[in-house]
């Protein structure tokens, strides 16, 4: 268990958020509605930095191990919070359905997530409503599609044997 006992016991407001222990790290599964509020509570509790935010596409692996009560969805936004005073990490995993890939922005709780959310939108196609600058960050502006999705091909150019199909 994380040092200092499970966080859910320490912070009453987190009581009803489902939690799991993945390889020694503490993971919470807030729903999209509770997401920003849980992040604010955690920030008050000392998690001053959001060290990482990324989106995961579970298209080929929908049936993964989840604590019961969490409905598996195709997309997941994974936020990694870090507290400096007692050195601890906690992870939030938010389910984002495929038909409505929208997630509330974390910018007004952790300003450090501005570029991370733009990258998640750019590569995975999850829109963050309320984000000040919802544009692409890594791909060219006129690029169609979101490359990191599982149904987006690798874009491999076939190896150029004599007579092999290919642009060259």
């Amino acid at each position: 268990m994380a040092p200092g006992g499970s966080l859910a016991w320490q912070i009453p407001a987190l009581g009803q958020i489902l939690t799991a222990d993945s390889a020694g790290d503490e993971v919470f599964f807030p729903t999209r509605a509770q997401y920003v509020e849980v992040a604010t509570v955690l920030r008050e509790a000392g998690f001053a930095t959001c060290s990482d935010l990324c989106a995961v596409d579970y298209l080929t692996h929908l049936g993964r191990k989840l604590p019961d009560g969490v409905a598996p969805e195709r997309f997941e936004v994974v936020v990694n919070l870090l507290s400096l005073a007692p050195a601890r990490r906690v992870r939030l995993r938010v389910m984002v359905p495929e038909h409505d890939p929208v997630c509330p922005t974390l910018f007004f709780v952790y300003p450090g997530t501005e570029n991370m959310e733009r990258e998640a939108y750019d590569l995975m196609g999850i829109r963050f409503d309320g984000h000040p600058d919802p544009s692409r960050i890594l791909m060219p502006q006129d690029w169609e599609g979101h490359p990191l999705r599982r149904d987006y091909g690798v874009g491999r150019v076939p190896v150029q044997f004599k007579g092999a199909p290919g642009p060259r």
Binding site: L84, A85, P86, A87
Partner: protein
């Protein structure tokens, strides 16, 4: 012709300069391929194709800085001939150049008073030069393993 031969080295230098310039221009005109295209004539924007053309109006302060430079540059140029014959002028020359420098210095005071020169980030109140004696040792502190977890 007597007085002219003292000018011979200057003419020689001038001729050599012109010759060298003409030679290099002619060589590049003749030997280098000249194939202008629109990309080459477009302003270099670190690789980005310029869509908006550069603004025509520049802040007026650039002009002001140029004017100030010209004033003090000409002042220095006037000092050159004075310095050559400074020996014969004696006390009169000294007083005369002090009056000349004083007149230009008054304009300098007026300029600084009007704030023509302070154009830039005002927040960096520059302490007197060399005041801070920070070295790479003095400006950092070391938190050893016994020094506790975080600051």
């Amino acid at each position: 012709m007597g007085s002219l031969d003292s000018y011979l080295p200057i003419f020689l230098l001038l001729a050599l300069g012109v010759l060298f310039a003409a030679l290099s221009i002619a060589a590049s005109r003749l030997l280098a391929p000249y194939r202008p295209n629109a990309a080459k004539q477009a302003p270099y924007e670190c690789g980005i194709v310029p869509t908006a053309d550069p603004p025509q109006r520049f802040p007026v302060r650039f002009y002001l800085v140029a004017m100030i430079f010209i004033i003090f540059d000409i002042e220095i140029i006037f000092l050159f001939p004075w310095a050559v014959i400074y020996g014969q002028l004696g006390r009169f020359g000294l007083v005369e150049v002090i009056v000349f420098a004083g007149a230009v210095f008054v304009s300098f005071i007026y300029l600084v008073a009007n704030g023509a020169l302070d154009w830039g980030p005002e927040r960096r109140a520059r302490s007197f030069r060399g005041a801070s004696e920070r070295t790479t040792e003095s400006t950092v502190r070391r938190v050893g393993s016994a020094g506790g977890r975080a600051a």
